[in-house]
Symmetry: C2
Subunit: 334 residues, 2 copies
């Protein structure tokens, strides 16, 4: 086990550090603010892998010339239920900030609406977009791909990204039900941490370089990850590819892998976000119906609803403990 | 291993037998034809668990008075992208037959459309509805719940149904990509077959009556099934509940379980079907893009695309081998 030196930072300090570094890297005010807000909210909710940890990658892909730091996303509502966002080769947070309110408005009017984002670089969690929709009383579904690191079930070669899928549903009177999961058995970062700490991996996490199942994180890092849940999880990972790339027209994971300059930041890709209004569809009082379901599910022994931990973390407005070496790395980027 | 006596039946004979029995059970021509077509297509594609095997259940739920044999589904297009189908307490095939063409037409115009079905009894596979949409050049997503037999991850008590999720995507120039999967690790029928044949179950299939993991099918049949893929599959099963019951307003699995008369047929429930037009959303030539993806994926060693086996079975127009005892049971219902 390694020992981490940790430094207390308030949420405001986290925001300001992220903002300052992104401004220094060339972001305009709008992009810097959107990225800093995304990073701060990840740290606030305890999703540290999507917090300040991402800043070096954000900066790196601007420095390499891959991502446009001051991109101004273009939004076209081509139909009452269809929003097409062109990120103009910038980072996703500003595109999402601009598009999500319009998507919610569309779904409130039409019952169901879809937003495709292309020419964009997504380097964050997906729950901010689906949770936003759930807080407006809408069902939210979002997915995106990434560079290949996961072998489809039956294969031995990386083809899928870790392809996250997020889903949120309003829980009337409480915080929304929200999940946001990689469709790989484990995220690559989890395997790296297991290697660092000398832990064995759970079965079905990955294959070694020769294509054989292995629970040794060092061997799996030379090979490929596997989807969660065998052939069924592999089907979900395929669905993510088809929604975020097949529907949007942007890169499948394999295409992103061939095109990317491997500068440590995200690859160019598409995202698909769907919003659905139970209010305009349900045959009854959906709020009472759904609240009853969640109450009954939470009453089962051993159950925690997805999203509850993040919401609990959020109630703590105090400082967060940030890896001191990471803070030093970020300051070195200024 | 038990030995089955099998009898050859042509697809036409399968259709006619199903049609005759459903007419005898009180179905009008429209309902009998829709159910017989669904049953015949399942046998044609090799999905025997959704073929003639279902006929006794279909008949049983009419005899018990639960399902209306001559229901005439009502369809209301309440918004350009929203179809609300009330099955009028009849079986789903006729409701789907009536609603799907309107759903496809809506999605072709609006980019994305949703159909909710309530007051209906679904006792078939879901791929017929998603595949239909994919054959029209649309993405199809469908899900429904069932009576509780699956414990959410962490719990020991049945709360979810086997909650199938089906997804289809057009594969231009070829047959669509289609999956249709229970969100349990195994279907209950698979566990029953393992018990009959004396086979052990894969790990993580279920818990015994005391809530302990077991690979003994007889013990799991006294306990509960588990979702596929641990907590991630459990999240997918939750999503299915929320889409097919939370959005539509019809029964969650637990509600269906409390309400149902356990006559051997399906419980009353909702279904949600979503159709998306890549043509109206993609930023590029989606057909070439998607065809390239499928070609590359199929090129990986060890890969078979979901839906391929069914499509291959379909090319065989010859007779199917049906369990002789099942045929006798069905004739006894006349």
């Amino acid at each position: 086990m390694s020992v981490q030196n940790l430094t207390d930072m308030s949420l405001d300090e986290i925001y300001k550090l992220a903002h300052k570094v992104m401004r220094a890297a060339g972001c305009d005010e709008a992009n810097a603010a959107a990225i800093a807000d995304t990073v701060m909210r990840a740290e606030r909710d305890g999703s540290t892998s999507h917090g300040l940890f991402r800043i070096p990658g954000y900066v790196g892909s601007i420095k390499s010339g891959k991502v446009t730091a001051d991109a101004n996303p273009k939004i076209a509502q081509t139909l009452p239920s269809v929003l097409k966002v062109d990120g103009q080769m910038g980072y996703a947070p500003l595109a999402l900030q601009a598009g999500l309110p319009q998507l919610a408005e569309a779904a409130h009017k039409t019952g169901i609406a879809v937003m495709s984002i292309v020419n964009s670089f997504h380097f964050a969690a997906l729950w901010p977009e689906t949770e936003y929709l759930a807080e407006q009383g809408l069902v939210g579904l979002a997915c995106t791909a990434f560079k290949p690191s996961v072998a489809p079930f039956g294969a031995k070669q990386a083809f899928f990204g870790t392809n996250p899928l997020s889903f949120a549903f309003p829980n009337p009177g409480s915080s929304p039900y929200v999940f946001d999961m990689a469709t790989s058995r484990l995220a690559k970062g989890d395997v790296q941490i297991a290697a660092r700490d000398g832990h064995e991996l759970p079965a079905d996490t990955g294959l070694d370089a020769a294509g054989n199942p292995s629970t040794d994180p060092n061997e799996v890092l030379k090979g490929v990850l596997l989807p969660f849940g065998g052939y069924k999880g592999s089907a979900i990972a395929t669905m993510v590819e088809l929604l975020c790339a097949g529907v949007t027209g942007d890169n499948f994971s394999v295409e992103a892998g061939r095109e990317d300059n491997n500068d440590g930041g995200p690859a160019k890709g598409g995202e698909l976000v769907i919003a659905i209004s139970p209010e305009l569809i349900s045959s009854g009082d959906w709020k009472a119906h759904v609240a009853g379901f969640f109450t009954e599910m939470k009453g089962l022994d051993g159950i925690r609803l997805a999203g509850e931990r993040r919401h609990k973390n959020r109630l703590d407005t105090g400082p967060r403990q940030i890896n001191t070496a990471l803070i030093e790395t970020i300051y070195s980027l200024l």
